[in-house]
């Protein structure tokens, strides 16, 4: 025998405690990933589109593209 007894290991409900730990962990990790994606990717993208279209003038853009000569059916005259 060792000089001091080792602490008695957990003998029962091993699966239950493992499941509890991992269910909680899985829930937190998946929620965390979803939250990170929402606030890291989705919201900035929505804001970028809002900012772009707030003062967007399509006609001005068309004229610029036409002047640059990239529109085959609207040549820069």
């Amino acid at each position: 025998m060792s000089a001091a007894l080792l602490p008695k290991p957990q003998m029962r409900r091993l699966l239950a405690s493992r499941m509890k730990f991992h269910l909680l962990g899985a829930f937190l990790v998946s929620m965390g990933c979803a939250t990170l994606y929402k606030f890291g990717v989705a919201e900035p993208r929505k804001r970028a589109y809002e900012d772009f279209y707030r003062n967007y003038d399509p006609v001005k853009d068309f004229e610029a593209m036409k002047a640059a000569g990239v529109l085959e059916s609207a040549p820069a005259k």
Binding site: M1, Y49, F52, A64, M65, A68, V70
Partner: protein
């Protein structure tokens, strides 16, 4: 058909296995092969294996086994450890101990990745021909200018990085 005829001639015994050939000398009982007997195994999920680890006990160990039949408080610590070692090969701590194998695996992986890199360098130098002319500096800059003129990906992409008023990349 023919096989079953031969079977009937030989009788109910099976035709030729090495086990049965050896049985001819005895009363008809086959000596059990080692692999057919219950085996000892060190596994985390098998706490009490089917047999003890030490199969053939020496005289000293047999005496200890006899002493085990009496009160266990009469056994010394060394005797208890000896009895344990007779019954089990490794303790759980020894069985579960990690190895340094991962270092070897990682080292091997990195080594062969490096070797693959050398092969790729050799291939680029000795084997492959020139890359297409569309990768040249002039072509790529003309290509980028055309993309900006067309306003490719103006919200989040390349045209969003270009300042069209000042005619330069955004800071």
């Amino acid at each position: 058909m023919l096989a079953s005829r031969v079977f009937n001639l030989v009788g109910r015994r099976s035709i030729s296995t090495s086990l049965c050939l050896r049985a001819h000398g005895h009363a008809g009982v086959v000596k059990a092969e080692d692999y057919t007997l219950p085996a000892y195994v060190d596994r985390r999920d098998v706490p009490l294996p089917e047999v003890a680890f030490v199969r053939d006990l020496s005289a000293q160990q047999k005496a200890l086994k006899e002493k085990e039949k009496a009160s266990w408080s009469a056994l010394s610590v060394e005797e208890k450890v000896e009895l344990y070692r007779m019954k089990f090969n490794e303790t759980y701590a020894e069985m579960n101990k990690g190895t340094n194998e991962w270092k070897t695996v990682l080292g091997g992986v990195l080594f062969f990745l490096g070797f693959t890199g050398l092969i790729l360098i050799w291939q680029k130098h000795f084997m492959y021909g020139p890359i297409p002319h569309t990768f040249s500096e002039e072509w790529v800059s003309a290509q980028t200018k055309r993309m900006l003129d067309m306003r490719v990906n103006p919200v989040e992409g390349i045209s969003a990085q270009w300042d069209f008023e000042k005619n330069e990349w955004k800071k």
